[in-house]
Symmetry: C2
Subunit: 329 residues, 2 copies
């Protein structure tokens, strides 16, 4: 978010009028991402020099008003869908809803609630059929949660990192999740909804389906809620990604003064999941799909947003907590 400028000491004066128009674009494999296509820049599409290739960004930039103010716009379009039931063919239901809302375009990113994917997969548990273990009973007293619900959480979680009133902090396939992503809200009475199985595979399936049916390339993100340390409330987290980088590595790029950026990576997929949550809402809204239109990407694509332990600022703390937790819980 270093968007600061500095006129008097700038070492790259030529950049000042419109720095983002001539920005060098580097991406490891342009053809693997639907958001970038190789070729000659066409009229109306901003061309960007990237090494020896000419790349073009397939999503446009919107110019308004007079220079030097140039506007870049992103649209988030919430798509209301019919009811989703177990066994539904979700890609075709979603595409129908997208068509009714004006269609899908090349370069769109579809952010989808992981909950509807889980429901279409039948990933639900009837709580009355779950017998809580002694550990679940202990954690139920500690958290105030229903023992059967805690048992489901323990079965879904790879490890439990901590507990507070109303929630367990868990790891599921490397993802930090409250209650292992298990959710009672908007589930049928007496049921809990789990995280979807094979979220990456579903994301790719939806992407391929849209490509086949509509002839456009989109990115797909399956989004779930998570919590952050010392902050109230939930933000979004990508639990499945296809056709869009998990993160963007801007370390090779230079700032306004020509210096190479050091630790400058953007959690793109989580940013998109979080932005989409602004429309999805938390209660009974039926907006499980958000189209993100107009995104421009710069930087080197990093496929996965998972972090190497030695690069995680919280890791040493979590490690300690994990050990402590294993003793205590």
């Amino acid at each position: 978010m270093e968007t600061m400028d500095w006129a008097t000491t700038s070492t790259s004066p030529g950049r000042r009028e419109s720095p983002w128009e001539r920005r060098a674009l580097t991406i490891s494999s342009p053809t693997s991402s639907p958001l970038f296509t190789r070729g000659r820049p066409r009229r109306g599409i901003t061309s960007i020099l990237g090494g020896s290739d000419i790349l073009r960004v397939s999503c446009g930039w919107i110019y308004r008003g007079r220079r030097p103010t140039v506007t870049v716009e992103l649209r988030l379009i919430g798509i209301r869908t019919p009811l989703i039931r177990p066994g539904d063919h979700l890609p075709s239901l979603l595409l129908k809803a997208l068509r009714r809302a004006g269609g899908v375009r090349e370069g769109d990113i579809l952010v989808l609630s992981s909950k509807v994917v889980a429901v279409s997969q039948g990933r639900m548990v009837r709580l009355s059929e779950v017998r809580p273990s002694p550990r679940a009973l202990r954690l139920s007293r500690k958290t105030g949660l229903d023992p059967s619900f805690v048992e489901v959480v323990l079965r879904e979680a790879d490890s439990v990192l901590g507990a507070s009133r109303g929630a367990l902090l868990t790891l599921v396939k490397g993802l930090p999740c409250a209650n292992a992503g298990v959710d009672l809200s908007n589930a049928p009475p007496g049921h809990a909804i789990l995280l979807p199985s094979h979220p990456e595979r579903f994301a790719k399936e939806l992407r391929d389906y849209v490509r086949r049916e509509e002839g456009v390339r989109v990115g797909v993100i399956l989004a779930d809620s998570t919590v952050k340390p010392l902050r109230l409330g939930t933000v979004g987290q990508a639990v499945g990604i296809s056709g869009v980088p998990g993160a963007l590595d801007c370390r090779g790029r230079t700032d306004l003064f020509g210096r190479r950026l050091r630790v400058t990576r953007r959690a793109l997929a989580d940013q998109l999941a979080t932005a989409a949550e602004l429309l999805m809402g938390e209660a009974g809204e039926r907006i499980p799909l958000v189209v993100v239109r107009g995104l421009r990407l710069e930087g080197k694509a990093v496929p996965s947003p998972a972090v190497e332990p030695e690069e995680c600022l919280y890791f040493s703390l979590l490690k300690g907590g994990l050990r402590k937790d294993r003793r205590r819980l």
Copy 2:
């Protein structure tokens, strides 16, 4: 993000056609927020019953296509600004840029990079004038960061929670920040930019200025970058808020089955800061301001996104880490 629906077992069939149109809205003090105004609903503005009052949401909902698909749209408009220098009157510079980009509207939320606020306040340090302490030298070896930079971080941080290659995890006024929000990128050569002083006060100043000059009520968020546990890259975090809830508490609301939601709070301000980062970029882009237009809010407004320790899932882990850190560093 529980956007799931369930037709066959629904206990609130009347809601199914258009649940979000008749949703009860509760907000603790409607007059304190520019996004809500009391009064009779006007044509084109969706009315919502909230207790005994009629409240109306001043930002519209967009309907497209035929039912049952109804679209809700959010626009994120990146505003390019001239160069910001220390001593600049930032509110007037920003308003000029906003006018050139088409103006500001009632209910808009202005998300502003905290960096430009810091620069306009002159919150920068020349690193050659900083003498690193022995602790800074120790942490410099551990992180690979410049000793003078580490010294500035230590002066800005209330506490250091952990260290990894390239960054220190710190707390600044209760906010978890990498390197105490101190930044070298896009700073004048040899300088570091700090977090702004009195971010809440500046947010209110900008909000009042827009109200006075344009006659419209907006919300303002000062955004900075932060990192999340076990995830690569940065997301946004609100470091100053005015006229928009820090979080939304949806616990009193009911889901599609009429049950009260339990732990369902949305980190609204952080969500907005993160969404805006999609346009702000991380390198030399000069887009320090993003207008969020079309947001609808439901739930009880929580002014601050800071969390009570006993409600933070990570707290017990951080506490342990903090103690360990105090011994070790």
